[in-house]
Symmetry: C2
Subunit: 205 residues, 2 copies
């Protein structure tokens, strides 16, 4: 996977990126022909590199996760929990957008598919780091104690998922803004208590 010819590698990357966008928008069942078209690449190239849909889905998830986990590691070293958390989220907006397809991979997990070793490892590390950041922010009194790491995860997935058929530039560019609003809503301050129960990360498996 590392020793590809330059053009091959380029096309592979394009495919993963296009697939991430399309999966995020339309779910993991989006037609592969369209992935190829969006990537500006022939279908033959797609099927040569990814023998079946699952291989592509896995590649998308792992690629995104790798970067997101990188961001989370960096955030763990931040001065305080809250700024670590917001820093992580902001840094990851782009990757999470790709990684919204990640939530689909969770869906696949629910659907009973096996994850390969690296995938599972990354997922677990991300979950641990996220929980740690949230705990820290809670401890500092910077974050509403009723808001859980699971709430955060779900809200990120929801808000970063593009609306189908939307005006891409317009709504897409607004993601950072909307995420900022959501983060504000998670901040500690004297509001009414939230309805319902916190989502635990474990509930999301």
């Amino acid at each position: 996977m590392a020793d590809l010819r330059a053009d091959a590698r380029r096309n592979r990357d394009r495919l993963v990126e296009a697939a991430a966008a399309l999966f995020a928008e339309r779910g993991p069942d989006a037609p592969l022909d369209e992935v190829a078209r969006r990537a500006g690449v022939g279908v033959g190239t797609l099927y040569r590199r990814f023998p079946d849909r699952d291989a592509l889905v896995r590649a998308v998830a792992v690629t995104s996760l790798r970067r997101v986990v990188g961001n989370a590691r960096a955030a763990a070293g931040a001065a305080d929990g809250w700024s670590g958390l917001t820093g992580f989220v902001r840094a990851s907006v782009g990757d999470l957008r790709l990684a919204a397809g990640l939530s689909m991979t969770f869906a696949r997990t629910w659907a009973g598919l096996r994850l390969d070793a690296e995938h599972e490892e990354l997922r677990d590390e991300l979950v641990a780091l996220l929980q740690q950041l949230v705990d820290r922010a809670h401890g500092e009194g910077a974050m509403r104690p009723e808001v859980s790491a699971g709430d955060l995860a779900v809200l990120l997935a929801l808000v970063l998922r593009p609306l189908p058929g939307a005006p891409p530039a317009l709504v897409g560019g607004a993601a950072e803004r909307h995420i900022a609003i959501v983060l504000e809503g998670m901040r500690a301050h004297p509001g009414e208590p939230l309805p319902g129960d916190p989502l635990l990360l474990d509930d999301l498996r």
Copy 2:
């Protein structure tokens, strides 16, 4: 449309409801056979009542809009703008979930399809009422002035849209909670300024 036999009316309603859920989840191109199946009704029944996909999409949008506009009218008479706004949102969560299909109808508008008279009328009234509620909340200093009615509309559509293949009970039931977090984030209080520009409702047409 009013003088249907009892069973016919019941089935029609079931169809609209099932279609709303499916359109919200998978976009307005979701297979009609599955709409029928989810509604517990034969395909024949579906095609008899809605000659083509567009008729069904229109019915979903108008039905949802009617109820949402009703809520908005009620909210316009609230004691203050902010409670009117939150009241409206909370009351509409169920309908907006259905009406997430509404955002698809916006998408169809973008795609260049004509809306019938009632649909357009409802849309315009909702936009006006929403803008009015937000203006009032702004005037009272209860809502962050940088958050626009368009921001609100888009965030609602995003957060209420179900994740595909998700654990339906779990994530579905959390909608109210997540909406509450978003509303908190829109409240006036001394936070950092939001990045980006406010979304105007007119930008969304």
